[in-house]
């Protein structure tokens, strides 16, 4: 979690250099969802992500250098600079695809689960989505299909209360997300998305169920994005959310919560934390240097890969 936080903080810090020239949707504040879920997975399990894909990609052990190089638009990036920050994938790590159009990857993830079911293999697919995603028909169509076919998939809805600058209450009626899943006979659970241990514990349970052909599931994780919808800055000044709300969630910062847990249970202390930060920062800086030094793609490569 700390690793992802430090990577994204460095992206935010260096974004003003104007060398990362693509949109970036940071997950700062939401890391427990990605880490709690992905930490429960094995390498063979697959995840699908959205426009906000950095944390999912990194939590599933996607290659950091390739991710940063992609954001810098470099040939050494995971898409060779073709996709930018919203198209991250690392096939060998099981990060199968990230798609920038809202909800688009939900069906792809469902297809991945269908594949496991037909082949009778035991891996599970995770479909990461946002609270906005459930407004698209494709979410419901996918859950319906997964439900009648008992597919081994967990739909993980990160409810951060906003779609861009619009609060959930302006877009959806008051009702729990569980009800959406249950309407499709998909077992649904909601939990504190800022508590990484809890998220992890629940995911492990659901994985077991999926492997016993008792999928699919909808897991809703309540959380909050600290920075602006897209970009490196804080945006409490522009008026769509209150400082009070922000501070409330800041207190529930998933990293703070987990740090406290570590201190309480495992004699972890501030010094350990600092040392860990330092060693991670070193590793991250090396990856940034790699990305910055990598070459931009040559224009002659642009026409490659249109057809298989």
């Amino acid at each position: 979690m700390l690793f992802i936080r430090l990577v994204e903080e460095m992206i935010a810090e260096k974004y003003k250099e104007q060398k990362m020239r693509c949109p970036v949707h940071l997950s700062i504040g939401q890391e427990a969802a990605a880490v709690g879920v992905c930490n429960a997975l094995s390498k063979k399990d697959r995840i699908f992500s959205t426009h906000r894909s950095h944390s999912h990609y990194l939590a599933k052990n996607g290659d950091l250098k390739k991710m940063l190089a992609e954001i810098y638009g470099k040939l050494s990036g995971c898409c060779g600079g073709r996709g930018g920050s919203m198209h991250l994938f690392d096939k060998s790590a099981g990060v199968t695809a990230s798609v920038p159009l809202v909800s688009s990857s939900i069906a792809l993830a469902t297809g991945s689960a269908l594949n496991s079911k037909i082949n009778n293999t035991k891996e599970v697919t995770i479909s990461f989505l946002g609270d906005g995603s459930v407004e698209e028909g494709i979410f419901h169509e996918s859950l319906n299909f997964a439900s009648i076919n008992k597919l081994p998939i967990i739909y993980v809805c990160e409810n951060n209360l906003y779609s861009v600058y619009t609060h959930l209450n302006e877009r959806q009626p008051l009702r729990s997300f569980n009800k959406l899943g249950e309407a499709h006979a998909v077992k649904s659970i909601t939990c504190d998305g800022n508590n990484v241990s809890k998220v992890n514990e629940i995911t492990l349970k659901l994985l077991k169920e999926c492997k016993k052909n008792k999928g699919p599931f909808l897991l809703t994780l309540n959380t909050y994005r600290h920075r602006e919808h897209c970009g490196p800055n804080y945006d409490n000044n522009i008026g769509y959310r209150t400082e009070k709300e922000f501070k409330h969630w800041k207190k529930k910062d998933p990293i703070l919560v987990f740090k406290k847990e570590l201190i309480r249970k495992y004699k972890f202390n501030e010094k350990n934390f600092d040392n860990l930060s330092k060693s991670l920062t070193k590793k991250i800086s090396i990856a940034f240097k790699y990305a910055e030094k990598s070459k931009l793609p040559n224009p002659s490569l642009i026409s490659k890969y249109v057809y298989a």
Partner: protein, 366 residues
């Protein structure tokens, strides 16, 4: 438009502001006009184009749209059957792809199948997201996709004053009108009259008079062509330049007349060259003006592959001034002879901007 000397009368505003004025003027005139967008009143308000509408109009007319492009397009069409004039604004052309069924079946065909009993006076504003590494799924224009469909009208405004008038005409029109707005055109500044007025959405407009070659371009490419026209004038090549403006219905009367004069035709597409609007123009002109053509017509447009995110790939990707000059050099030996100095001149006159930003003020992040 001729430059007015009296500077006090000029009201210079950017394209995005002009479009907003058009929306407001039309909605003031007709209470049936309603607005739908994702974040319609949020701090960014669709690049400022729907800003503060909720302060001017009854809140019932300003509809915050859930992320349900398909259903909400159908909702707009249904409301339009009963007299509303909904305007849907989407931040990217690609978001309309979720609503193609509604657009192509219900919007385009309801008037036809109901034998005129229904009409669908909706406006669907789609913004081309080119720039800042938007990548393959956030930067397409796809005007040719929509222009295939009888029953739709498709317009591509370029200049602020025209954009305002075109938006008003689109709202008054009793047919579904797809407006493809290039977000780089939102930055173009110009004089815009401070009143209710319409610009026709029937045919192209000639914006430069010349006898040597006919060029038909739309949207951002018109700006590129104007640049080229200015430089080539020094070499005594005068371009008969048209802003296409309206992709459907494709009214080519003026273009035919021009080609009969010049004998040479170049089209510059915003979207793909292959199966683009230019393909249709060239084909029509070849059929009807074959005997007047002195040279084979030339099409310029986006190449036959997607637009990747990284600027590294994008050199020579877009149909820009250099590409247009290159094609023109096939028609005019004098360009070949002076090629180097023309290119130097282009470099000198070009704003020194990176390939992925529309304006010096643009700093990302989307």
């Amino acid at each position: 438009m001729p430059k007015k000397k009296n500077k006090t009368k000029q009201r210079i505003i950017p394209g995005s502001e002009a479009i907003r004025e058009g929306l407001i003027e039309a909605a003031k005139k007709d209470r049936n006009v309603i607005f739908q967008a994702e974040g319609v009143s949020d701090p960014s308000s669709v690049y400022g184009t729907t800003k503060n509408l909720e302060k001017i109009f009854n809140k019932k007319r300003i509809i915050e749209m859930p992320l349900s492009e398909n259903a909400m397009t159908g909702v707009a069409i249904g409301a339009s059957f009963l007299g509303k004039r909904p305007i849907i604004s989407l931040h990217r052309v690609e978001f309309a792809l979720l609503a193609l069924e509604q657009i192509i079946n219900n919007a385009a065909k309801s008037h036809y199948t109901s034998m005129g009993q229904h009409s669908v006076p909706i406006v669907i504003r789609l913004i081309v997201g080119r720039g800042w590494g938007q990548g393959p799924e956030h930067s397409q224009s796809l005007e040719n996709l929509f222009s295939m469909i009888p029953g739709l009208k498709v317009i591509t405004p370029t200049f602020p004053a025209d954009a305002k008038g075109m938006i008003i005409s689109a709202i008054e029109d009793n047919n579904p009108v797809v407006v493809i707005e290039h977000r780089w055109c939102h930055y173009i500044k110009g004089h815009v009259p401070n009143k209710y007025y319409k610009s026709q959405i029937k045919e192209p407009i000639k914006i430069k008079n010349g006898k040597d070659v006919t060029i038909v371009a739309n949207s951002l490419n018109v700006i590129e062509c104007l640049f080229v026209a200015k430089i080539l004038k020094k070499y005594k090549i005068n371009i008969d330049l048209f802003d296409l403006r309206v992709c459907r219905p494709l009214e080519l009367g003026k273009i035919k007349k021009s080609v009969k004069k010049t004998g040479k035709l170049i089209t510059v597409d915003l979207g793909s060259k292959i199966l683009g609007i230019g393909s249709e123009i060239v084909s029509e002109i070849t059929s009807s003006c074959f005997n007047y053509l002195k040279k084979p017509p030339i099409r310029i447009g986006m190449p036959d592959y997607p637009t990747p995110s990284s600027r590294g790939y994008l050199k020579n990707h877009y149909p820009d001034k250099r590409k247009i000059i290159n094609e023109l050099s096939k028609l005019f030996p004098i360009i070949k002879k002076n090629y180097k100095s023309i290119m130097i001149e282009i470099d000198k006159e070009s704003k020194k901007l990176p390939i992925d930003v529309p304006d010096p003020s643009f700093k990302g992040p989307f």
